[in-house]
Structure formats: structure tokens, C-alpha cells
């Protein structure tokens, strides 16, 4: 493993030092087993990783501080995986990392990389910046693999031809949870939505999904309470009393919370008037990736990531891992490392990605969303995986999650 880590650093340094897409990858950590012709270097698949480095706010719990390198570490691990595969078929990979402090710098980096010949971009940028990039004249022949957003608008009204989405949309997350609640027959929901714009989008997705699966939102309440100093010695009294008051007199099976920023959701459990489970952004959480997840060989990916970084893989890391692996799969199966050829292969019907979910994942033709199972997990255990048995679909059961073709509002001009 230490060998591979050195190899990675080598590739990274090479990327920093060279002006354009590199012609040669750094030598692999181990000598290749098949003997390549030394006169002929392996062709290189050039992938750009473009991120807006945002200082993220501390979550409610100090136990899980957001790492400052999530996202890009997933891309680096996928690069190592691709490189191992590539050396058997004489394909090399280079990941050019552009981690920029503001939106204008991201745009400038994008233009520079396009001019250098890059066509495959893995992005970790917010929705508005993603649209700004996608609409640039320079982006006409590029493909942006959005590794970190969940916005439904980017897959709907605001969708773009040159963007693919790796992580499940909010609609998919909501459907994954609602299918499970339907199977459990927990049909009456108390919906609690936080004040931030993302919370409202998450709550909208939950409302839509509840209608779709015929679950009833018996009360739909905004959360406005700010307890102030939680860390004072009596902080827990105030929040306990508030949650009890907030839930008093309501009859429901499950409290579903929309709090994407982790500002209050963890404080709803155990404090309500009636004993009811919490699900949504806290409690039982629908997600693309979760720490307790070990099925379908996921143990191996968790272990490799832990070894590389010394921390757990986040959803953003997983999104970036899938994006770079998808390009690797395209190069391997399509037989070409050219940016345009790789990104074209991603959209072909024969494209499939194995991403430790026990299913083959592929991009939906109508909105560029990667179809995939969604995990349902709490902090310490995997509870279930959606789609739930019994939710049928004529082409793929994975398409019971999120926006299906007949409902899509994605009609790019």
C-alpha cells in the first residue's frame, strides 16, 4: 500500500509540474507484469478534477468534523484503481486536480484545462457554478461529471446535455426512504423542515415522494427554534422541552426531518412526546454511501479508502470515486483514452459501472442521472437498501427511485 501511495503522489506532482495533459503517467508502483514495448509509452486518459474549495460550517455534533479533502480523495482512490487495471491493457491515467478558492478561479481553471485538451471533468461545485460552467462556450465538447450535488432542478428544468450526475438526487433519496416506510406500513408522517434553502428542497422532495407512494403527511411543520448556547450545563433541558412541545398532540408513525446542514435534526430523537423513530437527513438516512455499509464487497472499498486517507469515506468521496471509475470503465471497455470517446461511451447502453451495490449502474438517458440503489442507514448500522422488493418497473427497478422518463422535465435545447 505504501507503494501505491508513493505512486499517487508521483502522479499528483507530475500533474502540478506539467503545463498540459501529460504524455506519460508516473511509473506504476509495481513494475507491469506484461512487458510493454519500452519505446512506446501507454496512452494516457486525462481526467480533470475541478472543485470549489468551500469552508464548510461545523455540524451540530463535534464528532464528525467535515474533512477538508472530501471528494478529491475518492477521485484519487479511483485513479489508483483505474491505473492498476490500465497497466494490464496499456492504458495510463492522469488526474489533474484544480482545487480553486472562488467561482471565478474555477471558471478560469476550466477554460485553461479545456484549452489544454481536457474533455472529461469531474466536478465538486455547487449548482449555480455547475450551470455557469456547463453554459460556457468552452464546455460545448466537454462532459461535466457532477460528483457532489443532489439538486433535482439540475436533473429537471435546468438540466444540460453536457452534465452527468453521480450521486442520487433528492427525489431518489426521498423515494428510497418512502418505499421503506411504505413497506413498514409507517404511513403517517410528521414532516419537520429546517429554514435553509436546501432544507426546503429536501422537504419538497419528501412531500412529492409521500404522494407518489401514498403516505400521509399528517403535519408539516417548519423548525424555527434556536436554542442558543447548547453547550451550557443546562442546554439539554431547553432542547428537550422544545421538542416535546413541538410534537405534542400529533399522531404520527415516524418523524421525517429535512435538515441538510445537520443543524438540529440529531436533537429530535428521544425527545418527542410520543416514542417515534426519526428518519430523513438524520436518524434513518437515505444515502449513496454510509460508514456501516459492508455488503457486496463494500468492505474492500471502505478498507482501501481508510488506508489511503486515515478517515472514513464520505458520500462526496464516493461520488468522485464513481465518476473517475466510470471514466476508467469507459476507457477500458470502449478501448480509447480520448476524452471525447470516454465521455461518449458513458452514454452508451452497454455502459455499466460496478460500485459495490450488487447492481450494474448506468446513466439515465433522459436526465443524465446515474441509476443506483440507495442505502438506508443510521450511524452504526445498515437498515435496508432501496428499491424495496415489490416496487416494480418495466425496464429497471432502479428507476422506481427518482424521476422516471415519463415525468422528466429535462428537455435540453
Amino acid at each position: 500500500m505504501s507503494n501505491r501511495r508513493h505512486g499517487l503522489i508521483g502522479v499528483f506532482l507530475a500533474g502540478l509540474l506539467m503545463a498540459g495533459p501529460v504524455a506519460h503517467a508516473a511509473p506504476p508502483a509495481k513494475a507491469p507484469d506484461t512487458k510493454p514495448d519500452p519505446a512506446k509509452a501507454d496512452p494516457v486518459a486525462n481526467i480533470a478534477y475541478l472543485a470549489l474549495t468551500q469552508k464548510r460550517v461545523l455540524p451540530l455534533s463535534f464528532l464528525d468534523q467535515p474533512p477538508d479533502d472530501d471528494g478529491v480523495q475518492g477521485a484519487r482512490l479511483a485513479l489508483a484503481d483505474n491505473t492498476t487495471t490500465g497497466r494490464f491493457i496499456h492504458q495510463a491515467y492522469h488526474l489533474e486536480e484544480a482545487l480553486e478558492p472562488d467561482a471565478d478561479a474555477v471558471v478560469a481553471a476550466f477554460k485553461r484545462l479545456v484549452a489544454q485538451g481536457y474533455r472529461a471533468f469531474v466536478t465538486d461545485v455547487p449548482a449555480d457554478l455547475l450551470l455557469r460552467l456547463a453554459d460556457l462556450a468552452e464546455a460545448k465538447d466537454a462532459t461535466l461529471l457532477d460528483a457532489t450535488t443532489t439538486d433535482d432542478a439540475l436533473r429537471g428544468d435546468k438540466c444540460r446535455r453536457n452534465v452527468l450526475h453521480l450521486l442520487p438526487s433528492r427525489a431518489m433519496l426521498a423515494d428510497a426512504l418512502m418505499q421503506y416506510l411504505a413497506v413498514k406500513n409507517w404511513r403517517d408522517i410528521l414532516l419537520v423542515a429546517g429554514p435553509n434553502p436546501e432544507d426546503k428542497l429536501y422537504a419538497d422532495a419528501l412531500r412529492k415522494s409521500a404522494r407518489k407512494f401514498r403516505l400521509k403527511i399528517v403535519a408539516d411543520k417548519p423548525w424555527t427554534y434556536d436554542p442558543g448556547a447548547r453547550r451550557t450545563d443546562t442546554g439539554h433541558y431547553a432542547i428537550g422541552a422544545e421538542v416535546a412541545r413541538f410534537t405534542q398532540g400529533l399522531k404520527y408513525d415516524v418523524l421525517v426531518v429535512a435538515d441538510e446542514g445537520d443543524n438540529f435534526g440529531d436533537e429530535l430523537g428521544y425527545r418527542a412526546t410520543d416514542p417515534r423513530p426519526v428518519a430523513g437527513t438524520q436518524g434513518l438516512v437515505p444515502a449513496a454511501w454510509a460508514r456501516p455499509f459492508e455488503q457486496w464487497g463494500a468492505t474492500q472499498l471502505q478498507a482501501r479508502f481508510l488506508k489511503q486517507t486515515g478517515r472514513w469515506m464520505t458520500e462526496r468521496d464516493y461520488g468522485a470515486w464513481m465518476a473517475v471509475r466510470a471514466l476508467g470503465e469507459a476507457a477500458t471497455r470502449g478501448g480509447s483514452v480520448e476524452g471525447a470517446a470516454m465521455t461518449a461511451y458513458l452514454r452508451k447502453p452497454e455502459f455499466e459501472l460496478a460500485a459495490f451495490k450488487g447492481a450494474r449502474l448506468s446513466f439515465r438517458g433522459w436526465d443524465g442521472q446515474l441509476r443506483q440503489p440507495v442505502l438506508l442507514a443510521d450511524a452504526r448500522s445498515l437498515v435496508s437498501v432501496s428499491p424495496q422488493p415489490g416496487f416494480l418497473h418495466e425496464t429497471s427497478e432502479l428507476d422506481t427511485l427518482g424521476t422516471d422518463q415519463p415525468e422528466t422535465t429535462c428537455h435540453p435545447s
Binding site: D33, Q300, E352, R360
Partner: protein, 324 residues
């Protein structure tokens, strides 16, 4: 086996089953979750003993003399040797990290072990108990199959999605054949001409010509009423006459019966949940399957192509081996 048990087994077999296996045969099942090996009497299909072994036993294989069982105890990062007379673990062998599967050389002297976390195949000399060398392969090495003459080793790597052909003398990788996503088991035909490779996520079985090292046929599966995502081929067994192949299809809960001449699926046999690996009885009349979710073993009558019985074993049964 104690004489008393043997008697009982004999009587039960005669009474219950028409396709009678060799009398003294025992089935050995690795239970990934329980950290045990279940020993089942093949005649009575009764559990004789449950043996505690190291953490996460997965791949298992018999020694050449049939007196011992080698066990990949994946989370214990070594191989354990279970003495089949005393049913106790008598020896531990090194394996490299996270051993998942292995294959024994035809002379019985070498184990080739896939190290799932390390992108390596370890070559273990059993007599000295030392790892002779390590061969770098693709990401997450898994399936291991050795040619009948022992000259070529095929290893599959799950994330790389390749079957690597390795020369067992020089340890050089001779060819890398791209197969379906997440390849699992590599099974040679008896004449050494073909290698069958299952792809769990791809949902296919690739037939590779061993001389050309090219895929000559890809088998796909379609089962009415079963979502295609559930069809995940893993275990493969070929009958002694080479005419029929059995492929375990994971959460589709079925074993496909394939005509090896036409590569057509003749039948799907409904077995337990998440069927994983397969083994024939010594006489080839029965096929045993491990079913990881229903925690049992299905018994298939090979001539009748019928599932005749299921036997509860430990939790998450993974591999099965028939010992004489």
C-alpha cells in the same frame, strides 16, 4: 466418522434417498458470519459437527489426500488447516492480507491465494508454510482456477473486471482478458481447453478459449418475474462428462442449467436465497449449493434436475466442499 454414526447414516440413506452418494462422504460448509465450518453427513444430511474456526471463513478446498480442509479465514488474515479425522484446526498457514479464495496445484503442494485487499496473488508453499512469491494482479483479486496440467493459473479481479492468465512456472502474467463487471469464479473445463468465468454485476458468464485467451461466448440469463439486477452469477460447476454446466445466480435464488455445447440455458432450478457456491458429490449425482441469505444448503438431484432437500447450516454459508 465414529462407527455408530456411520451405521445411522447408512440406514438413513437407504431409507430416504434414491440418488445415494458414497456413504462416507461429508459436506464441509464455510459460514462467513458465524466463523464456523459446518460438517454435514452426506448420507443422512444431518449436521455432524460445527467447528469454530478463525474470523470470516470464505474459500475452502480439500488437500490432495483428502485428509484436510484448507480454509481462507479472511479477517484473521491467514489460512487454517482443518484435520478431517479429528475435526480440529491443526495448523495455520500465512496467506497475505484478506485471503478470500484459493486454488490448489494438481500436485497438492502449492496454494495460490487471492488477497482481496492487496491486489496480489500469494503463492504459498504448503510443506514449508512459506509464501514463495506474490504476483501483482488487478483490483480486488477473487476467483482462482488452475488448469488441469497445473501450468496456467487464472485469477479474476473484481474491480478491474479481468481474468488474468498466469504462468505458474515463471509467475508472469501472460494475458488479461476483459470479462463482465465484478468477475467471481474461474472454472476450467476438464480438458483444459476453456475457462468459464462468472461476472456477478455484469450478470454474465464468459467462456474463454484457453489457447487463444479470448472470450468466445457470453452467456446471459433471463428469468421471467425476476428483476435483471438480481441475476448475479457466482459459482460454476461442470459435470464430469462435460456436457452440462451449473451456474449459481445469487439473489435470483436459482441455479441455471446450461448445455455446454449450445451454451443455452435448459432450466432454472429454484434453490435457497442468494445462492453462492456449488459442489458435486463424488459420484456426480448430487449438486450442493450454499445459500447465504436463507442460511442453508440446497441438494439438487443432477439426473432429475430437481431440488430434493434443503439443510440448515450456519449464518451466511459461503463455500461448500465434498470430502470423501
Amino acid at each position: 466418522m465414529p462407527p455408530k454414526l456411520m451405521m445411522k447414516a447408512t440406514l438413513t440413506v437407504v431409507a430416504l434417498l434414491s440418488a445415494t452418494p458414497a456413504l462416507a462422504e461429508r459436506l464441509l460448509v464455510s459460514n462467513e458470519k458465524d466463523n464456523t465450518i459446518t460438517v454435514v453427513d452426506a448420507g443422512s444430511l444431518a449436521v455432524i459437527k460445527t467447528v469454530k474456526v478463525g474470523a470470516r471463513p470464505r474459500g475452502i478446498t480439500l488437500s490432495k489426500d483428502g485428509k484436510a480442509l484448507y480454509i481462507c479465514t479472511s479477517d484473521a488474515d491467514h489460512i487454517e488447516v482443518l484435520d478431517l479425522a479429528s475435526l480440529t484446526v491443526t495448523r495455520t498457514l500465512p496467506s497475505g492480507p484478506d485471503p478470500e479464495l484459493f486454488t490448489l496445484s494438481p500436485d497438492g503442494k502449492t496454494l495460490y491465494v487471492s488477497n482481496e485487499n492487496d491486489n496480489m496473488v500469494s503463492v504459498l508453499d504448503i510443506t514449508s508454510g512459506r509464501i514463495a512469491t506474490e504476483i501483482p494482479v488487478g483490483v480486488e483479486p477473487e476467483g482462482m482456477g488452475i488448469s488441469p496440467d497445473g501450468k496456467i493459473l487464472v485469477n479474476t479481479s473484481e474491480t478491474t473486471s479481468m481474468a488474468h492468465f498466469i504462468d505458474t512456472q515463471t509467475h508472469a502474467v501472460l494475458a488479461n482478458v476483459l470479462v463482465g463487471s465484478r468477475p467471481r469464479v474461474a472454472q476450467w473445463t476438464k480438458d483444459g481447453s476453456l475457462v468459464w468465468v462468472s461476472a456477478e454485476v455484469g450478470g454474465t458468464v464468459s467462456i474463454i478459449d484457453a489457447a487463444q485467451r479470448k472470450v468466445i461466448q457470453t452467456i446471459r440469463f433471463e428469468i421471467p418475474g425476476v428483476p435483471k439486477e438480481s441475476i448475479q452469477p457466482v459459482g460454476i460447476q461442470l459435470t464430469a462428462d462435460g456436457n452440462t454446466a451449473f451456474v449459481a445466480l445469487g439473489p435470483a435464488n436459482r441455479v441455471a442449467v446450461i448445455d455446454t455445447h449450445s451454451y443455452q440455458v435448459k432450466k432454472y432450478l429454484l434453490v435457497g436465497q442468494r445462492v453462492w457456491n456449488l459442489a458435486f458429490s463424488g459420484d456426480g449425482k448430487r449438486l450442493y449449493t450454499t445459500n447465504g441469505v436463507s442460511n442453508d444448503l440446497s441438494v439438487i438431484d443432477v439426473d432429475a434436475l430437481k431440488v430434493v432437500k434443503s439443510v440448515p447450516v450456519g449464518r451466511l454459508p459461503w463455500g461448500v466442499v465434498v470430502a470423501p
